[in-house]
Symmetry: C2
Subunit: 238 residues, 2 copies
């Protein structure tokens, strides 16, 4: 809730008397920011909430508008292609935020990131960075390449592993990672449109990482490579 | 199921006629290995299964015995302290396998990793590496240190970030990572018992990564550092 408040996205808050005590500091902050706080009974709040154990507080938020044009010179972007699981999408948004990404893009055909499960999975991060939806994958890749990003597509059968790409220095460049959905991976046309196909290395006998795991490894590898480049050069590269 | 079969852990399999067609290759492999395959109707199988949409097949497996003594010279170990969420524990077991860890240890007071949700979350990896339970955290850390591991404890307030530890070369050493549970983190006595406290770097405005995300970043950072050390030296260090 505090992330939504900081983003100026909250419209109003409904809270039960017991929850009002627990969330006193948050509610004070909301009132100070001009967000109306209304009392409601537990049963009404439970009917507004989707969770099995509602917390006695519901915030109504406006969905922030987000467009690729808002991030003219991205250094790190996560693209989810036809992501279906809202929990996974939320976790990737949280991880992308933690890795310092400039935006997350869910291609047309993906789950709605404003699905409650995704919002909760993002742990507030959905309000921290632009989350762009409704763009066809091909258009998104073209736009990101025009904006100066190399597009790296993950594939379990790619020849180059992330180890090699990380050691090569390639990851220091502005990068958009595109991740396929868990069931089907990425289709051949998107793999072909990418600048490189990259395999997340599997050292043991696991068949793969899950989507969120693969995204975590790739995004943090990029963040490290970009940081190292900055330290080596003593300045931030464009 | 195939991971359980390869590990020699399967005792018997119950399958419905429609599922028997879908899993024909797996069932052939099971019969060849001497695992009895028994027919059962969908309703009986649904009552054996915990999932909402049962797949028409249930395998009964023995839990492999696992002890720290089984991994006398560990290079990479993941320790979960009082992990409570079976889905998280399963994901960490999968990630640890993918990062090439030698074992996963869940300290006394953790969720049972043989909980169905954890087994499914591990995507077979629970049969790939020793998953050790029932050891008090202090005893586990002492045993791992005696076995030659440095113990790195994750803490959101640690002074040293993983970036620095990775750049320092410290991660090339045999390492046991210990991760606290999502609600409480690690208690002061375990933080004090570790050789180093390490913070997973957060670049954006996310408050933290979730447990599985933090474990993924730390375990892959260790795997990279150990690989780089091997390449630099031209030989595998003990």
């Amino acid at each position: 809730m505090s992330a939504g408040l900081e983003a100026g996205a909250l419209i109003e808050i409904f809270v039960s008397p017991p929850a009002a005590e627990r969330y006193d500091a948050d509610l004070q902050a909301a009132r100070t920011s001009g967000v109306p706080v209304r009392s409601a009974d537990e049963r009404a709040l439970a009917s507004l909430s989707e969770t099995v154990t509602p917390q006695g507080i519901v915030a109504v938020a406006r969905i922030p508008a987000a467009d690729l044009a808002d991030v003219p010179k991205p250094r790190l972007v996560a693209v989810l292609h036809e992501a279906q699981d809202p929990g996974n999408a939320g976790t990737v948004i949280r991880t992308a935020d933690a890795a310092g990404a400039d935006a997350v893009l869910l291609t047309k055909g993906s789950v709605d990131p404003w699905n409650g499960k995704c919002v909760r999975g993002s742990a507030g991060s959905i309000f921290h960075l632009p989350v762009i939806t409704g763009v066809a994958a091909e258009d998104a890749l073209t736009a990101l390449q025009r904006a100066g990003c190399q597009v790296l597509a993950t594939s379990g059968t790619a020849q180059r592993s992330l180890d090699i790409v990380l050691a090569s220095g390639d990851l220091a460049r502005p990068t958009a990672w595109i991740f396929g959905n868990e069931a089907h991976g990425l289709p051949p046309d998107l793999l072909a449109a990418a600048d490189q196909q990259v395999r997340v290395p599997i050292r043991g006998r696991a068949e793969s990482l899950n989507l969120a795991g693969a995204a975590t490894v790739c995004l943090y590898a990029s963040a490290w490579a970009q940081d190292w480049a900055v330290r080596r050069d003593g300045e931030v590269r464009p």
